[in-house]
Subunit: 229 residues, 2 copies
DNA sequence: AAATATTTGTACGTATGTATA
DNA sequence: TTATACATACGTACAAATATT
């Protein structure tokens, strides 16, 4: 029905030729001038298409030298890591929350390392997320109360800490670490044997330079992170 | 020394105001006209800055309505998943490879499911990657020989399958799945107890519509995937 | 319900700067 | 040194979508 924008068509044409292997890594692309001629359009239009491909990491461009197909050296995967409450609800299940620990204290050495702070009050939470009553994930979280004093007033027995933070505290960047671990002493809470393999997701969240929160979530059973199709 | 491009400065100014929380989610941005005036530049320059932010998912734009700060709904993490040989070498260790199984056969039902094919020859490889002699990861891989007949000629006792494929077979897309698993019957090869928790990374790789290879890599010990800072 | 005004989307053409083969 | 090819930016125009009147 609607013809796609020209810059989109150019981008996808080039993309297709790279994907198919017709233009292999390192190969030089036609110049902007050549593509202008091929598509009978202006240079800005070609430039927009190729700039987008730079953004995707599919090509590299060097002045005077030209544009080149980038080497797809490494596999790169983008994983969406949703708030646990949202994840459970998206699955059509009922989200339950057991608040197991809720302590406010001055940061101890451990806290200071996790939040990269010299001192200050922190909130130390442990809670168990349930999906339709079944243990789904155990969450241990530290919140930097200097940056998020409002967290003192929240009833985390009713509101998921991750969700509350997501909705009330702007953040600029996050780092993640994914590993496998045995359930260990959390086995009882998670309803598995201590040797059961669990997926562990750790996350550090920043606002500009300062660390807002650290969280470690432990998933029993076959919980998996998936990306792509 | 070199002043940054104007569109870059505009983009980063807007970015900073969103990151800092000064402009919260849903807030309307100044119009392009307003930014033109603020920075005394043309609309194309402003447009380039804002278009980049759309690409990053930081703002949304609607004709007539304006530009809005996007809600940071979910955490999204980008993980680089390198070829194991490269990973080991990047760590300064020596990469060793034990080829444990190397079978060519007509696809059995299992193979057909994993590669989404109706029939055809496949190569079934199992190999153990070593870092300085120590077991690092166990890799089981299926290669679609219809698409990659050249794989028949490769000596995978010497060349890492992942590296060879990366360098010789163009691919367009990949899906990943990350989970935790017990070492189980691979424990002996990996040098751990059967109950040891391991990280499992599965990957399906396509060229356009057709599936080139499926691989499952099992990492013992504390191997982790990290993203961000 | 229809016309209007606003705002972004796309594309044109041009010009000058800059890195480099 | 010079020509090349990309980088940035200007100004203009019309199209498309959609709030507002």
């Amino acid at each position: 029905m609607k013809p796609p924008p020209l810059h989109d068509r150019i981008r996808r044409d080039v993309e297709a030729r790279i994907m198919s292997g017709a233009w292999e890594a390192g190969r030089r692309l036609p110049t902007e001038q050549a593509l202008m001629a091929e598509y009978a359009c202006s240079r800005m239009t070609v430039n927009k298409a190729l700039s987008a491909l730079v953004g995707f990491g599919m090509i590299e461009r060097r002045r005077r030298a030209g544009s080149f197909v980038a080497a797809p050296k490494i596999h790169r995967a983008v994983f969406d890591i949703p708030d646990i409450a949202a994840e459970i609800e998206a699955h059509g299940s009922h989200h339950g929350l057991d608040l197991i620990r809720h302590i406010e204290r001055e940061a101890d050495p451990d806290d200071r390392a996790r939040l990269s702070i010299a001192a200050g009050p922190v909130l130390d939470l442990t809670c168990l997320h349930r999906a339709d009553g079944r243990a789904f994930a155990l969450e241990r979280r530290l919140i930097n109360l200097t940056l998020v004093p409002a967290a003192r007033m929240v009833n985390f027995a009713r509101e998921s800490p991750g969700r509350w933070l997501m909705e009330h505290v702007p953040w600029s960047d996050a780092a993640h670490r994914i590993s496998a671990t045995a359930a260990g002493k959390d086995a009882m809470l998670l309803g598995v044997v201590p040797d059961a393999p669990c997926l562990s997701i750790e996350r550090w969240t920043w606002r500009t330079r300062e660390r807002i929160t650290y969280v470690r979530q432990v998933y029993p059973d076959d919980h998996a992170l998936a990306s792509g199709v």
